[in-house]
Symmetry: C2
DNA sequence: TTGAAAGCGCTAACAG
DNA sequence: CTGTTAGCGCTTTCAA
């Protein structure tokens, strides 16, 4: 090809060019390209044909300026390497694709300052809505800023208390209770809780549920058995060592998430102990890998794909009707028992 | 607060409002907000203060229309649940955040038709650049369409042969050879290859390297030992059964990726065999979980975080200078030996 | 150092 | 059924 059309087509074909080519107005072109019934079928076809031949590419920025809609949904997460969030993001992206929305992604590694910066940037793209999992220690004002700028927002997985915004997540306390019930029934009376902090809803909810449960079942709540921190493999790995070194070590642990539980299982092996034989460990999330480890990980299933879907649905509903009263949509978790838990030796 | 400013601030504050408030022009406001040296410091400060108090939010769509830059980079992947791509995406997102770019995400599940649709949509957002891992069976025209629309594009991980666009990926053949060398040295003479298709570069490269290696080392290339398919756990799991049922079953397998290898290890266990004892398995990618399985997975490390970073760097370079000659940036993989391989029994 | 004016590419009244 | 016109919010000459 001598590239004659290509040359002019380098991302620079506009409605005007098509209009000129056909001797019609840009309005007609605009309507034709969207297959509006207002325009004659013959005209529509001619316009579409010329658009194609000219290599026309619709310019959403321009349209957005006019319509005040971008068809983008911003997603703010701490971390997408954690498969829990990876899978959650995948569910969201897929659901939104179904309604013609594209995901704009930002991450902030559980750093509230970075979160504010990232959300601020995302906001400037004027997404039609935003799905956010708040950072550890994030303040209500950070999310309110977004909502006050007129962007529908739903919190997913974690929430900021009193922020007055939609939330779709899991019943953390119930999950922790189910895990503790399971261990209690297996005879465990010294149970650690590893991971989570009181500065994120999921951490606070689970740690409080733990405290309450222990008290209600006549077990003392010992600081040494409550290992605070982010839900990483490293935390789990390191925590095991400390716990096993206690004068009176625990026989089981509930973990903030599956990643932490995997770290615990590795730490155990490192000390010549095996989960499900010498020690019981319960995870949380039920990521794909949980079923596949040896032994399989007993874990609290958060139904996170469902959570992602429901967050999208809620957001779309709020986009249609911004006056909706904020709602807390809480999904019941399920305990999945596998090989990593056993009766106390 | 009685919300008087909030009411008008609902995402509707523009430069004009700030200008009116101060009796200056929008030009001055625009310059002030970007801290241009052209404007007096005192003016600048007053403008910025008013902008803040009015709850002004910069409108990137409007700016983009004017500047023809969006500061968005589109990323097109098949699947982000596979931790390999999740980690790759994380590396890309992080790198781009450093240069002030935000990621626009699209996925297409290895479906070339869906890929075309998704890339078409992404294109309309006029991202400043695009990073794409082509779908299985994707044609050159799909990516050329994007590039011809004037959007700088780099292929990552997989490439379409002859498309004449940048590519950042791994030396697939070398990785496969390293895996086979390792198995050969352990005495294996019947080696399967599981996963990958000839319709994606990574699959074709590895399968060809396998064919060549076997021929060069006096082993017959048997169709039954070459299990074609996408790199899923399910494929690995299913393939093992078929392979073990052969009259003369293999003693080892190289897998398309770690996920497939995990599936193989599970399938083995299902047949009362253990990887690293009764059968040897080599993965590819070295995702985080690979080191943590029991036994640890011997795998070909693709350095995918590095790959993501380099893809971004190449893209940024091309954005600065679109005339750059397309380049193939090939990263040397490393074999990581762990417990899933052993000498032939 | 600041303002006026034009225009990026599109859509939405409104008129015809 | 199609054209005219105005304008979304910003940046960028060019003048003053």
């Amino acid at each position: 090809m001598s590239g004659s059309t290509d040359g002019s087509a380098r991302g620079r074909v506009t409605l005007q060019h098509i209009a000129d080519e056909l001797g019609v107005s840009t309005a007609t072109v605009s309507l034709s390209l969207r297959s509006s019934p207002l325009v004659a079928a013959a005209t529509r076809d001619r316009v579409q044909a010329v658009a194609r031949s000219l290599g026309y590419v619709y310019n959403r920025s321009a349209a957005s300026l006019r319509t005040a809609r971008t068809n983008m949904i911003a997603v703010g997460f701490n971390d997408i390497v954690n498969p829990y969030f990876g899978e959650l993001l995948a569910a969201i992206e897929e659901t939104l694709a179904g309604s013609g929305h594209t995901v704009l992604l930002g991450t902030y590694s559980d750093d509230p300052v970075k979160q504010d910066r990232v959300l601020g940037t995302l906001k400037e793209y004027r997404p039609d809505g935003m799905i956010v999992c708040p950072a550890n220690g994030a303040r209500a004002a950070s999310l309110r800023d977004v909502a006050d700028a007129g962007i529908p927002l739903v919190q997913v997985s974690r929430e900021i208390s009193g922020v007055g915004l939609d939330f779709v997540g899991s019943n953390d306390a119930l999950g922790t209770e189910a895990a503790l019930d399971h261990l209690f029934a297996l005879g465990h009376r010294r149970i650690a809780i590893i991971g989570g902090t009181d500065a994120m809803s999921t951490g606070a909810n689970r740690r409080n549920a733990y405290r309450t449960y222990l008290a209600a079942h006549g077990m003392a709540v010992e600081a040494a058995l409550m290992v605070e921190g982010f839900g990483t493999r490293d935390l789990g790995f390191a925590a095991v060592h400390g716990l096993l070194d206690l004068t009176s070590p625990p026989t089981a642990a509930v973990c903030f998430n599956d990643l932490t539980a995997f770290g615990v299982m590795l730490g155990l092996r490192h000390r010549n102990r095996e989960a499900g034989r010498d020690f019981s460990v319960v995870g949380c999330d039920d990521v794909k890998e949980a079923a596949l480890w040896a032994p399989g990980l007993t874990t609290v299933k958060n139904h996170h794909a469902d959570m992602g879907r429901r967050a999208c649905e809620r957001l779309l509903a709020r986009m249609v009707n911004p006056a909706l009263t904020p709602e807390r949509i809480v999904i019941e978790p399920t305990l999945v028992v596998r090989g990593s838990t056993t009766s106390v030796g």
